[in-house]
């Protein structure tokens, strides 16, 4: 009997949720009050304007950069999944082209990639998509990536840079990042860029105009960040990329002791007059899938707007933000973000306070701060690390974690966690197979102690299975 009730309740929940999703997607860019209400409407979907994109001016070049940049990190595959997690699958070039067309049509003009993305196939796909347009219609941002030590030599680095030009079918790069500085500390930075003369080479390329803007993207050890900013007079950074959103603003360090609060990073760059690129605007989707009650707080304020849109508006309200990179796999992501920023409605003081309250509550959930960036993958022992964290976070967000076997919903929560985990992650790739070799730890830009968090999940599963919680 009670089982039946639960099922019915679930059904209602499901129906409610899907209705809400439908409502939101049908509202489209509902927060724009440009159109007069003309009585009854057959569809609530409004067209996204093609001439309302918010632009920022690059102080050095005077270029007009769209505040929304297209990140080619999570491209769609032919099976309609993100190529980031499904490296074996072919990238759906046709869809990439279609998304690019739609973006450009709506005024987006900055495209970001890296030789490492989508297992090395992102730049190639971008080259195909963008070369169909005149070169002055768009700006290319790519990186000198540094994940594999065998690419750290001078020759190898130059080869990587040259290959980027080739793959992207271009004569010059608009924005070139030193990729992920801070991972590995100052020592690694010195080895990677200074001692082998790679930075000198890049500075030379900038002088000669093949790199229009030179900057860095930062994760990890804040000493490296400070070192680079302190030496701004020497290297003249044209931009810098940091992780920023309304949660990371004050809580990056709290979520993860090896990170630094975005407030500090942003303010330091702004003092030095270095324009800022933003990555992880929605923390790999976690700020789009907030815990239910937090999402409701935002929806109550503006029912038509997506939860994700709040983060974009909040970030874009900062004047020194040149562009926000978002890895948009599907058309609905692109549409939602375009409608948020075409044009931008800046956050009010009151809205900032609301988001601060949401952030306060958000960090008090025991989520794993994984953005599913996949840098840790592949795990040499086959563990699906991001998949495991994502399932755990999903259960936390949706309130399906039990504290004790006495909990009212223990049986239901147990089923959801265990069955859901088997559905999401192959049994051979679950947390229990982590041997704690620690190879992944240094790859994680969020500095997550991956083996110990996986062990926590494994312990929780063991308790669920034995019903000894």
């Amino acid at each position: 009997m009670s089982e039946k009730n639960i099922n019915r309740r679930d059904f209602l929940k499901m129906a409610g949720a899907s209705a809400a999703v439908t409502a939101v997607s049908m509202m489209g860019c509902g927060n724009q009050k440009t159109e007069e209400i003309t009585g009854q409407s057959t569809s609530s979907k409004k067209e996204i304007p093609t001439d309302k994109m918010t632009y920022r001016i690059n102080p050095k070049t005077g270029d007009k950069i769209s505040v929304l940049g297209y990140g080619f990190m999570r491209l769609p595959t032919v099976n309609n999944r993100s190529a980031r997690e499904n490296g074996g699958e072919e990238i759906d070039q046709e869809t990439v082209n279609r998304l690019t067309d739609f973006a450009i049509e709506h005024g987006l003009n900055l495209f970001d990639t890296s030789p490492a993305y989508c297992q090395g196939r992102s730049e190639h796909a971008m080259g195909i998509a963008l070369s169909r347009y005149p070169r002055n219609k768009y700006f290319i941002s790519t990186k000198l990536s540094n994940f594999a030590p065998q690419t750290w030599g001078r020759e190898e680095s130059i080869a990587m840079y040259k290959n980027s030009l080739k793959e992207l079918q271009t004569e010059y790069i608009d924005y070139l990042h030193l990729h992920g500085i801070g991972m590995g500390g100052l020592e690694q930075f010195e080895k990677r860029y200074i001692e082998n003369g790679v930075l000198d080479f890049l500075l030379k390329e900038r002088e000669e105009g093949r790199i229009k803007n030179l900057g860095f993207s930062y994760h990890g050890d804040v000493k490296v960040f400070d070192y680079l900013v302190d030496n701004h007079d020497k290297w003249h950074w044209d931009f810098a990329m940091i992780q920023m959103n309304y949660v990371d603003w004050k809580y990056a360090k709290r979520i993860n002791p090896s990170n630094t609060d975005a407030e500090y990073l942003y303010n330091r760059l702004t003092e030095k007059g270095i324009p800022v690129f933003i990555m992880e605007p929605i923390l790999g989707g976690r700020l789009a899938k907030l815990p239910k009650h937090l999402a409701t707080n935002l929806r109550e304020r503006i029912p038509e707007n997506s939860v994700a849109s709040w983060s974009f508006r909040w970030i874009a309200s900062h004047k020194n933000v040149l562009t926000i990179l978002s890895g948009m796999t599907y058309m609905e992501h692109l549409e939602d973000n375009l409608s948020t920023l075409c044009p931008l409605q800046e956050c009010t003081e009151e809205e900032n306070a609301l988001l601060q309250r949401v952030a306060d509550e958000f960090v008090n959930f025991p989520l794993v701060p994984c953005t599913e960036c996949q840098y840790c993958m592949p795990c040499p022992y086959g563990v699906d690390i991001p998949g495991s964290f994502s399932h755990y976070n999903k259960c936390v967000n949706e309130g399906y974690i039990s504290v004790s076997i006495q909990d009212e919903n223990f049986a239901e929560n147990r089923k959801r966690f265990l069955i859901g985990y088997d559905r999401k992650v192959d049994k051979k790739r679950q947390a229990t197979h982590c041997i704690g070799c620690n190879q992944c730890v240094s790859h994680c830009p969020q500095g997550i102690k991956i083996p110990s968090r996986l062990k926590d999940i494994d312990d929780y599963i063991e308790k669920l299975k034995q019903e000894k919680l």
Binding site: M377, G382, K415, R423, I435, G436
Partner: protein
């Protein structure tokens, strides 16, 4: 009427047992476990006196009702025969009993059962039926379930969950297919031919049923010698010309009573067969009902008895694990010893169908052919699970509790240095030690290289659950594997 009662009961028993073999979730066994435990041969092997006496009493009272109602293989053949009857009506003809053949087969069966049970089990009706369902039909059932699970996933429902479908033993599947074909074809053509020629249980009960209290009787006075009864007797036991029934083969299905247009056939107390006309009083209906009720009561108490009796005893490619060469097979906790297990198990596969961790599978080795054994490529014997011990009807795996399981040493882990990643790859591992549920594994420094830590197994504390073997990252052969204990020790 009697036929209908027989039919309904048979349907219930057959559906119950079949569903139990199909149901991998282990829910039905809680309600239907007793249906397996009153199967004749398993009950004898388990020394389940209550169930054995019940079957014997039932047979002495009413003839081979067991074969018509309780035996799933018998009912299955009736279904086949019934379908065949749609194509060719009135197709049976009385044939004399092949008593010699039956007794010889029974004799060989008994000898084999004592000496070498896996081969004897080939013709044991209940276990042969179990193998058919578990090897052929459970995988199909699981595939359908997996479709439903996919659909459920789509709708974010958790009503169904996906399960692994894998070939547990090719040899056993082969045996099951042959059994299925032989039994199906035989029953299509000859009704209960298998039961009345080969089946050892049929032969034993046939010997008793000649002495049963109630029997089918043909009233020669009313009989007009139309032959309908003979043509419809699937046991080919009715001789309408002589007005006799061969009670050693009659399974008391009551079909002849139903078909007789002259009411000349009845199920009567103490029927004495005479080929000449002889009037007997029709048994009062109420007396018959009373006897049936007693039988039903007996059935219930037999079933209860059967239940009580239990207490006596961007992924890296992952290479599939391979089965290590074990000197001694690992048998589930509750089986006490290899010998106890081998001499009781009829290889019905009920435990295999119930194992939720993909540990149990039929052996392909000749010395314990088709009898289940454990291996840990797809999972390990989890501490909270005692399902196989709950369902086993033969006493090969005796009922144990979770608490008892934590002290039964079914095997012991053995470390293979040559495969160990800590030694070979220089990584810090210890996954076996950190997952050992009994804490039998400790990581110790390798004497020749103290920077390397390797597992050391305390065999006295090892349960043989296979967690270490399953979770060992060395592939295809794990660096730590379980050897069975010939006699399961206590901790």
């Amino acid at each position: 009427m009697l036929k209908k009662i027989r039919f309904v009961l048979a349907l219930l028993f057959w559906a119950g047992i079949t569903l139990m073999f199909l149901d991998f979730s282990g829910t039905l066994k809680c309600f239907l476990g007793w249906m397996a435990k009153i199967q004749f041969l398993p009950a004898i092997l388990a020394l389940n006196i209550g169930a054995v006496l019940f079957v014997l009493a039932l047979t002495l009272l009413f003839g081979r009702l067991y074969c018509s109602i309780i035996c799933p293989m018998g009912v299955f053949q009736d279904f086949v025969s019934r379908i065949a009857g749609k194509f060719k009506k009135r197709r049976f003809k009385f044939s004399p009993e092949k008593r010699k053949t039956r007794l010889i087969i029974l004799g060989i069966f008994v000898v084999l059962l004592v000496a070498f049970s896996p081969i004897a089990a080939l013709i044991a009706p209940y276990s042969a039926y179990g193998r058919m369902i578990s090897s052929i039909f459970q995988p199909l059932y699981m595939l359908v379930n997996n479709l439903l699970a996919k659909a459920a996933e789509h709708y974010d429902s958790y009503a169904f969950y996906g399960v692994d479908v894998w070939l547990k033993s090719g040899a056993t599947l082969g045996v099951a297919l042959v059994t299925f074909l032989v039994v199906t074809i035989w029953s299509w053509k000859k009704g209960r031919g298998y039961c009345n020629t080969v089946c050892p249980v049929g032969t034993v009960l046939g010997l008793l049923s000649t002495k049963s209290l109630y029997k089918i009787k043909i009233d020669a006075d009313k009989c007009v010698n139309c032959g309908l009864c003979e043509k419809n007797c699937k046991a080919e036991a009715v001789d309408f010309k002589a007005h006799t029934v061969d009670y050693s083969r009659c399974v008391a299905c009551m079909n002849c009573i139903e078909i007789c247009k002259k009411d000349a056939i009845s199920f009567t107390k103490n029927a004495v067969q005479k080929s000449s006309a002889q009037k007997t009083d029709k048994p009062s209906d109420s007396a018959l009902r009373k006897t049936l009720a007693t039988g039903a009561l007996l059935a219930v108490s037999g079933a209860l008895k059967a239940q009580e009796k239990q207490f006596d005893g961007g992924f890296a490619v992952i290479e599939d694990k391979k089965i290590p060469a074990r000197d001694c097979p690992v048998k589930p906790a509750g089986s006490r010893s290899l010998r106890n297990f081998s001499s009781h198990c009829t290889a019905c596969q009920l435990c295999v169908t119930q194992c939720p961790n993909n540990v149990l599978r039929p052996s392909s080795k000749i010395e314990n052919f088709m009898q289940p054994e454990m291996s840990f490529e797809l999972g390990y014997c989890r501490p909270e699970c005692t399902r196989c011990s709950e369902v086993c009807p033969t006493g090969a795996i005796e009922k144990i509790t979770k608490e008892e399981k934590t002290s039964i040493r079914a095997g012991h882990a053995v470390w293979i240095k040559a495969n160990c990643l800590s030694v070979n790859d220089g990584v810090k591992c210890g996954n076996c030690a950190s997952h050992c549920p009994s804490g039998a594994i400790t990581m110790v420094k390798l004497p020749e290289n103290p920077s390397v830590e390797v597992p050391a197994v305390d065999s006295e504390r090892c349960l043989g659950c296979g967690a270490c073997e399953h979770l060992c990252p060395a592939r295809p052969f794990a660096a730590i594997y379980v050897e069975g204990n010939e006699v399961h020790g206590d901790m």
